[in-house]
């Protein structure tokens, strides 16, 4: 199975996002470098709005991910509640 990944800038805004992603995706692995975090996962990765909101204590629009996103790999499917990356094959 192919891996998907998502990379974010590492800063105060993205800490809870990364925490949420790892909580919702037990099969994912995070690799930290000085200013960036890359999260790899076999097959698919899901980012859930609700999980992030619980951690930050305010409403969160998934489109806010735009501000700190670095790169992604995989097909993207986005709706109001989740941001999903996957390789169908």
């Amino acid at each position: 199975m192919s891996k998907v990944f998502i990379a974010f800038q590492l800063n105060e805004d993205t800490r809870p996002i990364i925490e949420a992603v790892l909580a919702d995706n037990p099969h994912a692995e995070a690799l930290e470098s000085p200013a960036m975090v890359k999260i790899d996962a076999e097959g698919s990765l899901v980012i859930k709005r609700e999980t992030i909101e619980e951690l930050i204590g305010r409403k969160f629009d998934l489109q806010e991910l735009q501000i700190n996103l670095i790169t992604i790999s995989g097909h993207l499917d986005e709706d109001d509640d989740q941001f999903k990356l996957s390789w169908p094959n």
Partner: protein, 517 residues
């Protein structure tokens, strides 16, 4: 934008559909073919534009909101960088030459990308892809301008940055990236999307961006690194557009497959050839190196690209054949390219130098199969000669490949001691290419590639001298006149890093910042 209609909140997909689909219409007072004159000439068949899926569903007001936040953060850093002499934070002044290459070779092409996406944003009949292309167009003008703004401070203090657009149009090695984008922009909108949207912005983007931006981070260049991070989420949108485009074309009609495959083969190879400059930059121009070109290729192409092509296989797409050669080339091209720039350093608008012992050991370790066997001895010899006062500069001009326009310095995949030449005949003339990949591209569209403005040919034809130059005059120095025409300041922009104004100034200024006497 949260939106409620009556009591029910509209979901992002539904909302976006209302905000985009239905804006356009089937024209009746003017025929659709006249409103969209470029929609069919490339032979791509689209039956239902509504099948287009928008991956990132940004309405304009959301776009402005998030992009403005990124702009504010970026410019705050650029201002601080300028106010605090941030340029003194770089590891050493040799690093500057990497970003000279960036400003002259890449930034003006972000601008061409902006114009090309504006064209695609007008020419596709479907409203979904048009909106996505237009957003990429404004993103690209953002990139061109933020790069110029980020590097503006370096231009004030160092050489080689000062006339970037003029140089891009004329200087011999810059025709490599320039012709790449001219090639794409001169094509139709569908080929543009496969060339730039897919091949460049999806398949190869990490091989351009990560090296330069990581190179900046590792070498203390806060301005460039901040630009890089800020641009990255734009790039994520661009990647998804490119991937959606190719999926859409392949799903619309099986007849599109051979056309798309031909474009992928062409543009993967053209892009890889342009990336030679990046490989050279990574291995030779970064005082603090990030990784080798070989390693970058393995991670970002062999592994990531592998996942992508595995996915596209279901449509019948095959990995381009020329890619097999890259497995061999990855251990050679950076050394071959640097050797070229070193000896042509008199005509380059950035400084060149030979690696020191520590750097040579790094190269040996990263390239166990090739560096010591084929390159170290030559580089050590050049370095010794330079130390004796005989720094080597070639006084003649190289033959360029008709397609990629890189000097013919590459070697046969199965024999690194033999230069690789290929040739093609077209309408009574002979044309030369550097590889099977470039020959294949030439033979596919010879009527296009014979038009190329090859810098070396043009110099020999006398087209690269300032107006009023008299080549018959006593003491005529053609190279000097070419440099003048390039606006390349001899003795300042070019030649070895040792003894350069950049070296002297950086040392003096950094000295002033850290010493008391």
């Amino acid at each position: 934008m949260d939106m409620h209609v009556g009591k029910k909140k509209l979901g992002i997909k539904e909302k976006y559909a209302h905000m985009t689909r239905g804006l356009d219409w089937e024209t009746s007072y003017q025929p659709m073919d006249k409103v969209f004159p470029q929609a069919k000439f490339e032979g791509i068949k689209i039956h239902d534009w509504d099948k287009w899926e928008d991956p990132f569903r940004l309405t304009m007001d959301s776009y402005w909101k998030y992009q403005a936040e990124k702009e504010r953060k970026l410019y705050a850093v650029l201002d601080a960088f300028a106010q605090n002499n941030g340029h003194l934070g770089i590891t050493d002044a040799r690093y500057l030459n990497a970003i000279k290459l960036f400003l002259t070779g890449i930034s003006p092409l972000e601008y061409v990308a902006h114009r090309g996406f504006a064209a695609a944003g007008r020419n596709f009949p479907g409203v979904g892809p048009r909106v996505a292309c237009l957003m990429q167009s404004i993103d690209e003008v953002r990139h061109a301008q933020t790069q110029i703004h980020a590097l503006s401070n370096y231009n004030k203090h160092y050489d080689g940055f000062h006339d970037f657009k003029h140089m891009l149009e004329r200087v011999w090695y810059l025709s490599v990236p320039k012709s790449f984008f001219d090639d794409a922009f001169s094509a139709g909108p569908f080929e543009w999307m496969i060339a730039i949207g897919f091949s460049f912005e999806y398949v190869l983007t990490n091989l351009l961006f990560v090296p330069f931006m990581s190179g900046a981070a590792y070498n203390g260049d806060m301005a460039t690194v901040t630009f890089g991070f800020s641009a990255q989420s734009d790039e994520a949108r661009h990647m998804t557009l490119g991937l959606e485009c190719i999926k859409f074309m392949l799903e619309q009609d099986p007849d599109n497959l051979p056309i798309v495959q031909k474009w992928i083969d062409k543009w993967a190879w053209r892009g890889i050839r342009v990336l030679t400059l990046v490989g050279m930059m990574m291995d030779y121009m970064l005082p603090k190196r990030v990784m080798s070109w070989k390693e970058a290729w393995e991670i970002y192409f062999e592994q990531n690209g592998g996942a992508l092509f595995a996915d596209l296989a279901r449509y019948g797409i095959k990995v381009p054949e020329c890619i097999t050669q890259c497995t061999v080339d990855k251990e050679h091209i950076s050394h071959q390219a640097w050797a070229t720039f070193y000896q042509y350093g008199g005509a380059a608008a950035f400084h060149t130098w030979m690696p020191n012992d520590e750097e040579m050991d790094w190269l040996s370790a990263k390239y166990p199969n090739t560096f010591d066997k084929y390159y170290r001895a030559r580089f050590t010899h050049w370095r010794d000669e330079a130390e004796k006062g005989n720094r080597f500069y070639t006084n003649t001009l190289p033959m360029l490949c008709q397609v990629c326009q890189i000097p013919m310095v590459f070697t046969e995949p199965d024999d690194p001691t033999k230069l690789c030449y290929r040739e093609s005949d077209f309408e009574g003339e002979k044309y030369h290419t550097c590889s099977d990949g470039c020959k294949g591209i030439f033979d596919g569209e010879p009527e296009k590639y014979v038009q190329a403005w090859l810098p070396v040919h043009q110099i020999y034809q006398g087209n690269c001298f300032p107006e009023g130059t008299d080549p018959t005059a006593e003491g005529f120095d053609p190279l000097a006149k070419v440099l003048e025409w390039y606006h390349l300041e001899h003795g300042k922009d070019n030649l070895d890093f040792e003894g350069s104004r950049d070296q002297a100034n950086f040392a003096a200024w950094r000295g002033m910042a850290t010493k008391n006497t």
